[in-house]
Amino acid sequence: MDPLTAQQDAIMQEIARHKGCGSGGGDGKTGCGSTAGRDDLPPEIWEKVKNHPCYSEEAHHHYARMHVAVAPACNIQCNYCNRKYDCANESRPGVVSERLTPEQAARKVVAVASTIPQMTVLGIAGPGDPLANPAKTFRTFELVSRAAPDIKLCLSTNGLALPDHVDTIAGFKVDHVTITINMIDPEIGARIYPWVFWNHRRYTGVEAARLLTARQLQGLEMLTERGILCKVNSVMIPGVNDRHLIEVNRAVKERGAFLHNIMPLISAPEHGTVFGLTGQRGPTAQELKTLQDACEGGANMMRHCRQCRADAVGLLGEDRSAEFTTDKIMAMDVSYDLDGRRAYQARVEEDRQSRVEAREAELRTLDGHGGASGVTVLVAVATKGSGLINEHFGHAREFQVYELSAAGAKFVGHRRVDLYCQGGYGEEDSLAGIIRAINDCHAVFVAKIGGCPKADLIAAGIEPVDGYAHDDIATSTIAWFKSYLDRIGRGEIVHAARGDALIRQGGLIALQSLNVA
């Protein structure tokens, strides 16, 4: 590894110092990994991540991002991706509705920024690889930085072409780059990548993987040397690279990666990927969390990734891309209101800051409530953003999952579900699916819930909690946790471990029946 500059080194040490809280307690703060807040990071890093929803778990409640699908070509083949649909890596399969020219993309960015003032980040993530389409990618950056100068530029790459483009990336002041690194061992890589195309040749097998890993790690080092924040994405493939990802975590941390995002493999057979067709399964919720917990203390863990599509628009947990089709943006009357955007974002910052103190006060009251008993529970939360419990159970498309312990409330994941309430009627099948998706949780926090699902949740051992409607997630879940510990203390309930839960495969297909232990 090339030596980092002294400043970089100091930053990395600072980051390392602020981490190191595992799942079982730690330094008493909610701020581990990407959950780190203003007080947990060096000011220059906080400035870069505070309104980037993908680089800060805290920011993802408040700020939105968009992707523009200007980069269809790819230079590698992955067994979890089927190009007949789309890249499963950066987006759910089959869901880029249209490809854009750089000019269309720039117009779309202005249209979205005018409609969604909390949209702060433009990413290019395919549907192929941005750096296999360098002309289109950089032309888009050029046009966007001129039209919308306050938008952060971001890209996500497989890394093969990265070393050739690092200076151009730095020249466009791209502050955030994501590299998908699934292995550092070419023998493992040969089971994930059938081939790569490099320097006018197709390479296969171990040779291909050796080339890919060398280029990825070289590119990562080159970026971090230039002070660009790097996130590493890894797809967890049980039996192929699951244990190996601990070594990947170590290797990317050594090279200055800021964040490590371990995502579950999506491999439904109907997607037509090699893994889907060979029956390679993805991890369960518990397997994923165990691996993520094992990597705590290495590079910061990201757990709030939604594996979004290459044309996603909105908060990470929502998708508003259908509002911004090319036809619609061409018909929209858009003007770029920079001052209006700044004023809106200033209000968001005030609201964020005002809630931090309340959270910390609530956390202090945990002392003396049996918090030291070592009890840890997971809870699911229905939210439509802003860090509030503000979604009706029947309208939730996903639940955020928090781990509650003496250390406070820590975001540890999310579960996508089918809508329970459709046309006003709850569907029994989808309720069963929701219960499977949050089966590892002791409680589910909602703004409102009907009587029938309430009874079924209780029967399944999941407590529905609607007493904190429209309140702050962290403050409310800690308050509930206190009462939970008190009820245990009084002998009213017995704390018991929950089972595993199911990670839903993709966004458009029905949840398959699967035995969850």
């Binding site: 190009r83 192929g128 040749r201």
Partner: protein, 74 residues
């Protein structure tokens, strides 16, 4: 011979277009086509036809037997 693209298999990803040394590839109705008059099978440029090497779908950029064999200029 020249290469041709099997339209029913083409994903329209455009990867081949950028790799072709002869600018023989262009988009048509969402997929890509090869102009046989310009295609040299990459002879004289590379060891293998670049479109076939970069194409994400196997057996999509294939030799077109309907076109006479390409003759490199002597």
């Amino acid at each position: 011979m020249a290469l041709k693209i099997v339209a029913s298999q083409c994903t329209g990803c455009s990867a081949c277009e950028a790799e072709c040394p002869n600018q023989a590839i262009s988009e048509k109705a969402g997929t890509f086509i090869i102009n046989p008059a310009k295609c040299t099978e990459c002879i004289g440029h590379y060891d293998n036809p670049q479109c076939a090497a970069v194409c994400p779908v196997d057996d999509t950029c294939v030799i077109d037997p309907a076109v006479p064999r390409y003759q490199a200029a002597s």
